[in-house]
């Protein structure tokens, strides 16, 4: 049996640290051992940062001894996806091309985590170039789902999902261009937050897509995501998309109540084509929301299939532009990513520009939703985790491409730039995790996190 962290949440671990019932060094050593024990099973990490983690933990203990604890993440073992630059530590972006890349600077997210006293124990495994959802990486092997190692963890932040689900760390950073935080959260049974566009700096992350990339945490609970976002959010002049919008206080209230909340239930698209167990789990969450005082409001969300098509045109075009400098090294790319990059090369520029024009129309139209409701409740993924190597999946008798099925409920909110949280919604008959998604208006992460935490209470 692998070691796991002895605490279920960041708040619980923080309380023990501040009460000095455990030291940051002790906690870090448990986390490092858990990572080592789990690695042969899940392959969740690409690199460990043991020496620096223990040095950082020693410094945290000295600060705690002086009564200093600058943030809720102080002394908490965390991990970051290998897309985030770490000064002096290899940052491969899951690719052969960057296999020996050692950045000379930290990503903004890494800077903020360190400044808050979080202990970064390592770099989590991922889809090659964060471009895809299987984490079946041709260069560094597949990441495996801790709930069933024959299945994918989702992606592209699959190592982060696996590390949190396996109890190795209490938070792991991911990036999300078309669901890459929320899909692994759903398949691995964790929470995962894609914040509003501009809320968390992208500085120090190799872009996959200049207008769809978002950075955010995967953690056991929405409350943990909230504590993490408190540290991560804020203006960064080094990121052109970074927002000066005020940073909220994100921690959900201790008392789970949804009195006064209007929770939108989309009347089209989001409740169609779901695995029956996932539909039943959503129904249970709706009942719980009502029991906690929320009002369920049927709401028209417009043409989400169109928004998904727009998102795919934008992603194919921007990703191929971003990675074009490396495309002469075809043999160094995996087949899945290469096929996507080649697709982007053949799309006309007119399609890309028109996709960005249509995006504006849909962003404007979608604002009407927030006149009727405070948030939306949907499934995150229509299925539980597929098998490693599985290309097609059967949903209600219809065969769907695994990649398109897994992204169809999440991609639209990257296009719209809205905050979206995945929460665990239970286990299906095969003991596989299922996920539900809560979406809010821009910069209203506070509502999304409060609703998510209440529904998990």
């Amino acid at each position: 049996m692998s070691a796991r962290l002895p605490f279920r949440t960041i708040a619980e671990a923080g309380e023990e640290l501040r009460a000095k019932r455990i030291s940051a060094v002790e906690l870090t050593k448990i986390s490092l051992k858990a990572a080592a024990d789990e690695q042969p099973r899940t392959n969740a990490f690409l690199a460990m940062m043991e020496e620096q983690a223990l040095a950082d933990a020693t410094r945290c203990d000295a600060e705690l001894a002086r009564g200093e604890s600058p943030s809720p993440l102080h002394g908490i073992p965390v991990a970051v996806k290998d897309v985030f630059s770490t000064k002096g530590t290899k940052t491969t972006v899951g690719s052969k091309i960057f296999a020996n890349h050692v950045p000379d600077h930290d990503a903004a997210v890494v800077e903020r985590l360190r400044a808050a006293g979080a202990i970064i124990i390592g770099k989590t495994h991922m889809q090659e170039f964060a471009y895809g959802i299987t984490c079946n990486n041709p260069h560094f092997g597949p990441v495996r789902n801790p709930h069933d190692v024959s299945r994918i963890p989702g992606g592209s932040s699959g190592g982060s999902g696996a590390a949190v689900a396996a109890g190795v760390v209490l938070m792991a950073m991911g990036s999300d261009t078309g669901g890459s935080i929320r899909i692994p959260a759903s398949f691995c049974g964790t929470s995962g937050l894609k914040p509003t566009t501009g809320r968390v700096s992208r500085y120090g992350v190799l872009p996959l897509d200049f207008t769809l990339d978002h950075m955010g945490p995967l953690a056991p609970t929405p409350h943990d995501c909230a504590l993490s976002l408190q540290v991560l959010a804020g203006y960064d002049p080094r990121d052109e998309s970074s927002s000066r919008a005020p940073v909220d206080r994100y921690a959900p209230p201790a008392e789970p109540s949804l009195a006064g909340f209007r929770i939108g239930i989309p009347t089209s698209f989001y409740y169609e084509g779901l695995q029956p167990s996932i539909a039943r789990a959503l129904e249970s969450l709706q009942n719980k929301a009502e029991a906690l005082g929320a009002r369920l409001v049927p709401v028209d969300v417009g043409d989400i299939a169109a928004i998904n098509a727009i998102g795919r045109v934008i992603l194919l075009s921007e990703a191929s532009a971003a990675l074009e400098p490396y495309l002469h090294r075809r043999a160094d790319f995996g087949a899945d990513v290469l096929a996507l990059l080649d697709q982007g090369r053949l799309l006309p520029a007119t399609d890309y520009v028109n996709a960005q024009r249509l995006r504006r129309i849909h962003m404007t139209k979608f604002e009407a939703v927030w006149e009727k409701v405070d948030c939306l409740l949907t499934a995150t993924t229509p299925t539980t985790a597929p098998k490693i190597g599985q290309a097609m999946i059967d949903i209600l008798g219809k065969s769907e491409d695994v990649r398109l099925a897994s992204t169809r409920l999440v991609r639209g909110f990257n296009v719209l730039g809205l905050p979206a949280l995945s929460i665990p919604s239970g286990l299906d008959g095969e003991a596989l995790p299922m996920g539900a998604q809560i979406v809010g208006r821009r910069f209203n992460e506070k509502t999304v996190l409060a609703v998510g935490q209440a529904l998990l209470s």
Binding site: A309, D342, N354, I361
Partner: protein, 63 residues
């Protein structure tokens, strides 16, 4: 507005001749499906519709 389906094999030959013939199916088929879903949407575009992200020079730029 009717659009003739693009011939992505000819486009590949002209724009990306380095794509091996054996890999073309993995490239062409998804593009044909995406085109069928996407191009009809452009009928909704008014002449004055701007892209979601536009260039706006301000006194703050460049920093």
């Amino acid at each position: 507005m009717d659009h003739p389906q693009r011939d992505y094999r000819k486009l590949a030959a002209a724009l990306a001749p380095d794509i091996p013939a054996a890999e073309l199916d993995r490239v062409v088929q998804p593009l044909e499906s995406l085109e069928a879903a996407f191009r009809p949407l452009t009928a909704a575009l008014a002449d004055e519709t701007e892209p979601a992200f536009t260039v706006r020079l301000s006194t703050e730029w460049p920093a």
